[in-house]
Each structure stands twice: as structure tokens, then as C-alpha cells.
Amino acid sequence: MTKLSDRKDLHIGSKFIIKEELVKHGIAALPIIIVLLASLIIGLRVPNFLTARNVINILEQSSAIGLMAIGLSFVFIVGGMDISIAANMGLSGIVGAVLMRIGLPPALACVVMILAGTLIGMINGFAVAYLGMIPFVVTLSMMYVAAGASVYLTEATSISGLPEIFVNTIMMRIWKIPLPVIVVVIFSITATKFMRSSYLGRWVYAVGTNIKAAEIAGIPVRGVKFWAYALAGSFAGLTAILNTARLASASATMGTSVIVLDVASSAVVGGVSMYGGVGTPLGAVIGALLITLISNSMNMIGVSYYLTLVVKGFVIIAFIGFDYWIRRGNE
């Protein structure tokens, strides 16, 4: 534990000062500036990049990862880890889709998806908070179980032919802005507000910063942990709704394990520390935007897929390293 907490100090310390500033400005400024600058410069080089369509495109593409990143940010801030979030999303989506196919009204199916996600989140939360299992281990194995269940339920075929109304409503555009984007914006802002200025949010930060002290200070530590995971689960469920609607189908391939790492790096890029106690959901979403931006710009430029992998990998690392460099500068 010492090991973690020490590195945590090293992480949070000045970061927290930054946070205090950002709390005033309300966002994780760094990634957003980079997003803007980068997209500007790429925009100059590549036609069709800064077109309204593509911008909306990027927003829409980042919405799924963004939502999951919000969920994951709760877990990160409480000092945990959730590898299963993508698999969870896949499974919830499949459950919902199956139910829609057998004639459950879409509205209910959506509720079920969220519930399913939450339930899996709760199992994680229970194992971590009350059984004292290691988060990474719990969620890693949960990932296997969920992914396995997905294959089993779908017999590996994809479930399509979902009700038109479901797809259309979710993918509805309001003044050209896709509903998912709006949803993400709303959730990221409310979640951030909730984390920063509700007492529950404070508790989450406190537990993530120093769990012992939190316990002494009379905070229901276990409950806080539990609900952080549950919340992450419900966001996975929410994402499931978006994805099933976007693909007008659900399949076991929806929650491939690579996505998790995308989500995790979004959160971290967005300034959410894996060691707990630092960062905001909004930051995580902006991180997701940055990650999406990388793939999208690569596509627009027409870089070969192989090189895209290389660039993406190193850009993520470069960003985190650079972020750390600045924080160290602050100390």
C-alpha cells in the first residue's frame, strides 16, 4: 500500500492544486487545448476534416468511449480499476437486444440494459468492497465471464432486427446534433458537478485519497467503493444502449477487450489518476475525444493502418509523459 500511496502523493500533490484551479474553470484544460490545437493544425492539412459533418462525426464516435470513460472515472477516483467495463457493455447490450427481439418494449429494454450493467458493476463492487478482492483481478475475471456469457447467449451470431423506433429515437438528431453526443455532454457535466460538489462526490475523492483516514472520519468506505463500481456498471449499460442503437444490432464482438484500454487511457489522458483521488468525469470525456481524434485524423489523412497503431500508441504515451512533466514543473 505504501508503494501506491507514495506514488500517489507524487501524482496527486501538485495535480490537486491544478485541480483546484480547474475546478474554477470547470474543465481539464490541458487535453482540451491540445484537442483544439491538434484538430486545427490537422484541419489545415486535411480537407473534410473540419467540416461540420466530420466534427459531429468525431463527437458521435467519442460518445461511446466517453460514456464508459465517465463510468471508469468514478472507479479510478475511488482508487480502483475496472477492466470488465467493455465486456459488461457488450453483455448488457446483448441482453437488451435479445429482450427486444422477443418483444419487450424498447423503453423497458433500455432500462434492462442499464440494470444489467449496474448489476455486473455491483458484483464487481461487492467483490472489491466487501470481499476485499483486488480490483484488477475481480474485473479481469469478470471480463472473461461476461465475454463468455455474451458468446454463449448469442451463439456468436449477432442479434439484429431491433425495433425501428428504438434505433431512430436513440440516433435522433436535434439541430443536427446526435442524441448520444447530447447525452454525453449532459452526463459529463452533471457527473462532474456531482463529484465536485455533492457530499457523496467528496466522499469518493476522500476514499480514493486516503482510505484509512476516510474510515476514521466516519465515511462509509465500503459503501462508497461499492457504489462507485455500480455506477461504472450503469454507465456501461448506458453505453450499451448507444452502441446497440448505433449498430442496430448487438453481438459478442461489441465489447472486445481492446476497447477497455482505449477507455482507460481516455480517462488517464483526461487527467484522472489511476491511483485515486484526482480528476473529473468531464476530463475523462475530453480524454476520450482526444483518443478518438487520433484514430479519426489518421483515417482522414489516410495513414496506413499499421502506422496508425504505432502513432496512436506513442501519442498516448507521449501525452501522459508530457502531462507528468508539467505537473512536476508545478511542484
Partner: protein, 351 residues
């Protein structure tokens, strides 16, 4: 504090420069200017958007090259320039949806997509339709919607034809087959079709019975362990159906290690039917260890899809919008004189 601001700012610049440098370098080395399209005004130039679901197979490389090849030919013939915009979804359904959206926003004239998920691709198709861009599914069919065109191998019938040939072979040699079937990735509709085609012939002809199915998920060590365990649990097995002969090398070693590896006509030969005539399969056929496989004719797939893409891009319509390239049955006898096998062009075949 000011000091920090400056530091942040400089750092920011550095980072963005790095970022852009990467992309720029990328763009230069990989000919961004060719691939990036202008808005299609004159039809003297068309841009084809190509969305791969993944790119970790040589076959896909082959497809891509053949497409370019045929496109060139077409350019000379019709006097148009054909640009390509290509992206890869890395086996992730949602990312493929995103990628195709990217293609749409780049305003390509036609989209070719190898679907990661047959059902999910429909959403992308609808998006393309809204934008008025013709949409072709390649190799993997869309489920639940009819796209503007589909070009691909007929994975079901391919399996059937291989099965038929295999049945003939067994009957000719008076063998009653007991077979192990190595399945593919069950999330891959093609793999499932192949298995079903195989099952169909088994039911109709009764030339063999499948005693064990092993899902390999295309995972190499399962090709090996699956084979070995199969023979361990059923010693009297005398034939195998391998979902794709890309895995033949593994099976070959496995057989070798349990002393079951023998060429056709030799004592204790295991009768092998497979699909694709991939590089290892080509080798297997040439060496006479494998008996039957149906060629997966990348060359013709590419030819057909480019033709279709061109026609649709030109705003004309196809007379037949489902183009299935029949696989050619390749046996250890006729393999040498079968033409246009991509495995021959791409493999480093070693006698």
C-alpha cells in the same frame, strides 16, 4: 505561477508538434495526397472508400493489392483516375462503424466494406444511403438489409463443393470417413456457413461422420491441441475438415508428432479437406498431404468488386447486385495447373 504557464505553454507546443509531426510524416510516407479525395465533381476521377474490419491476414493484403491492380487496368481502359481511401477497424464493430462514417465525411464516391459483423454493417449502410453513397459489402454479407451490391465468395456453397469433392474422393477410395472438424471463430459468419455447408454434404452423402468439433477461434495452439486431442479421444479417426488451410501448417506438425502424417496413397494417410488454399494450404496440396480445398479466389473477388464499385460510382446500376465468386475445387492433383492462386503469388513456397 507565470513560470508554470510558460512551461505549460511550451510543453503544449512541443507535444502538438510531436503529434502533428507524426501524422504529417505518416501522411507523406503513405501518400496522403493520393488517398485524400477532393469533392467529387468531374466523374473523370472517382474515389473508392475501403473499410477493412481487420488487417492481420495476408489474404486481405492480397485483396487490397489485386484491387489496386484491377483498378489500374480499369483506369487505362476507361481513362479515369481511381483514388483509394482505406481504413481498418481492428476487429472492433463500433470502430468499423466510425471508420465508415469517416469515409462518408470524406465524400468518397462508393464504399466497399468487409464487415466485422454482418448485422451491424447495416447501420453503416443506412448512413451511407442517407449521404447518397453506394455501398458494397465485400466477402462478408450483410444480414437484415440489402446493400447496393455484395461481392464475395459463397462460403456456404464453397464448403459444399469441397464437401462434394471430398465425398467423391472417399467413395472412390472406398473409405468410410470418421472426421474431426476444426471450426473457425464462431463469431465469424463465414466460419459458421462453412461448417453448415460441410454438415449438409455429410447429411446428404453420408460419406463420413463428424465425430468431434473443435472451435479453434483461429487460435494456433488450438489447431494443434485440437487435432491431437481429437485423435487421442478417437483413435480411429481417418479424416479431417479444417475450416481454413491457413492453419494447415499447425495441423501438419500435430499429425507429424502423433505419427499420423502421410501423403495421399501412403499407408495411414489422413484424408484432409479444407478451405481457402491459403499459403500453408497451397503448400499442403503441393506436397500431397492435403486432398481437397476450395480456392478462395482473392484475384476474382477483387476484380468483381472493383468492377462493381466503378459502375456504382459512375451512377450506373448493376444488372445483378449479388456477385458470388464460386470457389474452385483444388485437389492435390490439379493444384499445379490452377491459375491465379493468390497463395502462389504471395507465399514464399519452398519445394
Amino acid at each position: 505561477m507565470r513560470k508554470n504557464r510558460i512551461k505549460i505553454f511550451t510543453g503544449l507546443l512541443i507535444f502538438v508538434l510531436v503529434f502533428v509531426a507524426c501524422t504529417t510524416a505518416a501522411a507523406e510516407t503513405f501518400g496522403a495526397d493520393e488517398t485524400v479525395s477532393e469533392e467529387p465533381t468531374a466523374k473523370s476521377e472517382i474515389t473508392i472508400g475501403l473499410s477493412w474490419n481487420r488487417k492481420d491476414l495476408q489474404l486481405i493484403e492480397a485483396w487490397e493489392d489485386y484491387m489496386a491492380l484491377h483498378a489500374k487496368a480499369l483506369e487505362d481502359e476507361k481513362g479515369v483516375t481511381i483514388n483509394w481511401v482505406i481504413n481498418v477497424a481492428d476487429g472492433d464493430v463500433t470502430r468499423q462503424a466510425s471508420n465508415i462514417e469517416d469515409l462518408i465525411s470524406q465524400g468518397v464516391d462508393v464504399i466497399i466494406a468487409r464487415a466485422e459483423d454482418g448485422a451491424a454493417i447495416c447501420a453503416s449502410y443506412n448512413a451511407a444511403k442517407e449521404a447518397g453513397i453506394p455501398f458494397i459489402t465485400f466477402d462478408r454479407e450483410a444480414q437484415g438489409c440489402t446493400v447496393d451490391a455484395h461481392v464475395g465468395a459463397d462460403s456456404f456453397n464453397q464448403a459444399v463443393s469441397a464437401g462434394e469433392a471430398f465425398a467423391d474422393l472417399l467413395e472412390a477410395n472406398g473409405v468410410k470417413g470418421k472426421c474431426i472438424e476444426l471450426l473457425g471463430d464462431l463469431r465469424d459468419q463465414n466460419a459458421v456457413n462453412r461448417s453448415e455447408g460441410w454438415a449438409k454434404v455429410e447429411a446428404e452423402r453420408g460419406a463420413w461422420e463428424t465425430v468431434l468439433q473443435v472451435p479453434t477461434e483461429y487460435n494456433p495452439d488450438i489447431f494443434i491441441s485440437g487435432t491431437k486431442n481429437g485423435f487421442a479421444s478417437n483413435p480411429d479417426v481417418n479424416c479431417m475438415f479444417i475450416v481454413t488451410d491457413a492453419g494447415w501448417g499447425l495441423v501438419q506438425n500435430a499429425l507429424d508428432e502423433i505419427g499420423k502424417l502421410a501423403k495421399t496413397g501412403e499407408e495411414g494417410h489422413i484424408w484432409i479437406a479444407s478451405q481457402d488454399v491459403d499459403i500453408p494450404g497451397y503448400q499442403g496440396l503441393m506436397e500431397g498431404y492435403m486432398d481437397v480445398s476450395t480456392s478462395y479466389d482473392a484475384y476474382y473477388h477483387a476484380l468483381e468488386v472493383v468492377k462493381a464499385a466503378y459502375t456504382l460510382a459512375m451512377g450506373e446500376s448493376l444488372e445483378n447486385n449479388i456477385i458470388l465468386v464460386p470457389g474452385r475445387v483444388v485437389t492435390s492433383e490439379n493444384v499445379r495447373d490452377t491459375t491465379d492462386l493468390w497463395a502462389r503469388d504471395y507465399g514464399d513456397y519452398q519445394e
